[in-house]
Symmetry: C2
Subunit: 319 residues, 2 copies
C-alpha cells in the first residue's frame, strides 16, 4: 500500500502509543469466570476489548495513528478501508481530534458497524467486497483529498496501538504464562507479540484463525505468505489476509496459529454470552474455540484471552 | 410464610452479610458508557450484578442466608420457590456449604435458569405457575425434609444480602446522588434502600417496575399493599408481588417507583446489549427504560444503576 509505513514497531513505540491514547481510550476490564475455567481446565483472564471505545480493540491503533500525525497532515484528514471495526475506530479517533475521516466500506459489511461509522460523523464510501476494490478506492480518495491512509493492520502506528492491549493486560494480571488473540490482518497479533515478549519473553503466544480464512496458518506452515485465498467464514472481522510484516512478527515470536471451524466458533460465542454475560462478536469467539479445541495446549495454564470486539447485529445472530 | 423472619435488616446486619459472603461472592465491576451517558444526559454507573456468581444479585442474599444457619439447621438443607434466579442462587449457595437445596420451580420458568439450577446440584420440584402453588409445595417440603425456608425476598437474611450491592457500589463510586434498582418482590430495592441511606442519607432512590406488574407503585400510591394483582409482563424476574416488609422499607426511604412498559424495557435491553456490550436479562433493563422515560428526574445526575441479572434464553430473545 503506498504512503504507508508498515515496519514493525519496537517496544518504545508501543509505550509511546500507550501514552498517546491514554486520554481517549478505555482501560478495559479483565474478567474471570469459574464455569469457563472449569470447562477448559485453565485459569482464563478475559481482556474485554469489546468494552473498548467503539466496541473493539481497533480504537487503540486508530487513535495512535490519528494523534501521531503532525498538524499539517491532520488538517487533510485520514482515510481507510474496513469491513467495520477499524473504520468505526478511525471515525471515532478522527472525531477526538476534530478532523475528517473517509471510510471505504465494502458491500456486505455488518449493518450495525456501518451505522456506527455514520454516527461517528465519518464520510462513508461504498465499494465492492474485494480487497482490490477497497484498496483502489482508498488510493483514489488519497489522491483527491490528500487524506493520510491509516491501514487497518499494515501500519506501524496501528500495530503499536494494538500492542497496548498486551501492555495493559500484563499490568493488570501478574503471572500469565500464555496469551491468545484472534488473527485476521495481524495488527493485533503482531503488536501483542512484540509487547508481550518485551515484557515477558517466556509467555507462550497463540493466535486463533477461522479455518475458512486460514491464510496465516498456511503462510507460517509454507514459509511464504499465501496471497490468493478467498476467505469463507462467518467471522466478518477476520476475512482480511495477514500482512507481510505482521506475518514476520508472528514468525519471529513463534506464535502458534490454531484454526477453528465456524461451528466451533459459534458454539464458543454462545458460551461467552451465556457464561461470561458479555456481548462479543463472532470473530472474538475464535480464541475460546481454539482453547476448547486444543486442551493439551492450555490445560493447567494461566491464559490471557483477548476478546477483540462486541459489535454484532442483534437481528442476525449466528445461531 | 411460616418459619420465615421477614423483619427489615438494619445496617449492621448488612455489614455482617458483606463479611459473610465475601469468600464466595464476586465483587462485581462498575461500567460506564459515553454513548448511554449522552443519550440520557446523565452520568450512569452500571453495577454489573449480571456478572455476579449465578448471573444475578440473588446470590448475595442466598449466600448470606445459607451461611447464617447454625450447623444443625444447615444439615437439614434449605428450600425455596423461585422463577429462576433465586433458585439458582440458593442452589449455588448451598453447594458452597455442601448442603442440600430443594428448589420449587413454577412451570413456564426460563429454561436457561432451570438448567442452571440442575447443574448446581439442587433437587428440583415442579409446580403450577401460581404464588399459592409455589408456597404450598414449599411448606410441604419443609414438613417432609425439615429444610429451612429461604424466601426469595421476605426474609431478613436475604434482604441484608441484597443490600450489600449498595454497600459495594458506594465504595466503588464516590459522589453518587441517585440510585435505581428494579423492583419485583422488593428484596433488592429494600436492602439497597437501607444500606444506601445508612451511608449517604441524601441519595435519591428510585425503583423501576413493569407496568404489567406494578403492584408496588399501586401499593405505595394507595397506602395499602395490593395483593390480588396477576402479573402480565415479559420481565420474568419481576412477576412476584412486593412483600409487606419490603414495601415498608420503600415507603420509609421515600423510594420513587417508575413504571415502564414491556416495549420500553425491551428497547432498553437492546441498548444495553448494543452499547454496554453486556448480556442482561429483560428484567434488568427496566432501570434504563425508567431513566429514559423520566429524563427530568435523572438528567445532570450521577446515577448508580443496578443491572440485576444476565440469565437469558438466547433462543428466545424478546425482539
Amino acid at each position: 500500500m503506498n504512503t504507508t509505513n508498515d515496519a514493525l514497531p519496537d517496544f518504545a513505540q508501543i509505550q509511546a502509543a500507550a501514552a498517546r491514547i491514554a486520554p481517549h481510550a478505555v482501560v478495559t476490564p479483565v474478567l474471570r469466570n469459574d464455569a469457563l475455567d472449569a470447562l477448559c481446565g485453565a485459569r482464563l483472564e478475559f481482556k474485554c476489548e469489546n468494552l473498548q471505545r467503539g466496541g473493539a480493540f481497533k480504537f487503540r491503533g486508530a487513535c495512535n495513528a490519528v494523534w501521531a500525525l503532525d498538524d499539517e497532515q491532520a488538517a487533510r484528514g485520514v482515510v481507510t478501508h474496513s469491513s467495520g471495526n477499524h473504520g468505526n475506530a478511525l471515525a471515532l479517533a478522527a472525531a477526538t481530534r476534530g478532523i475528517t475521516a473517509h471510510i471505504v466500506v465494502p458491500e456486505g459489511a455488518v449493518q450495525a458497524k456501518v451505522r456506527a461509522i455514520q454516527r461517528a460523523g465519518a464520510v462513508l464510501h461504498r465499494c465492492a467486497p474485494t480487497q482490490a476494490a477497497r484498496e483502489a478506492l482508498c488510493i483514489q480518495l488519497q489522491r483527491e483529498t490528500g487524506a493520510v491512509l491509516v491501514h487497518p493492520y499494515a501500519d506501524t502506528r496501528v500495530m503499536a496501538g494494538q500492542g497496548t492491549v498486551a501492555l495493559e493486560l500484563l499490568g493488570q494480571v501478574p503471572g500469565l504464562d500464555t496469551l491468545i488473540t484472534p488473527v485476521g490482518g495481524g495488527g493485533l497479533a503482531s503488536g501483542v507479540a512484540i509487547a508481550t515478549h518485551a515484557l515477558e519473553p517466556s509467555i507462550r503466544l497463540f493466535a486463533a484463525e477461522p479455518a475458512g480464512a486460514a491464510d496465516t496458518a498456511a503462510s507460517l506452515a509454507g514459509g511464504a505468505r499465501v496471497a490468493g485465498m478467498v476467505p469463507d467464514t462467518v467471522c466478518d472481522g477476520l476475512r482480511t489476509l495477514v500482512g507481510e510484516r505482521n506475518l514476520d512478527a508472528l514468525r519471529e515470536h513463534h506464535v502458534t496459529v490454531i484454526t477453528v471451524s465456524d461451528a466451533e466458533t459459534v458454539a464458543a460465542m454462545r458460551l461467552l454470552w451465556e457464561e461470561l454475560k458479555l456481548v462479543v462478536e463472532v470473530s472474538s469467539a475464535t480464541v475460546l474455540a481454539a482453547i476448547r479445541k486444543s486442551p493439551e495446549l492450555f490445560a493447567g495454564h494461566h491464559v490471557g484471552v483477548v476478546l477483540s470486539g462486541g459489535n454484532v447485529d442483534l437481528d442476525a445472530l449466528p445461531w
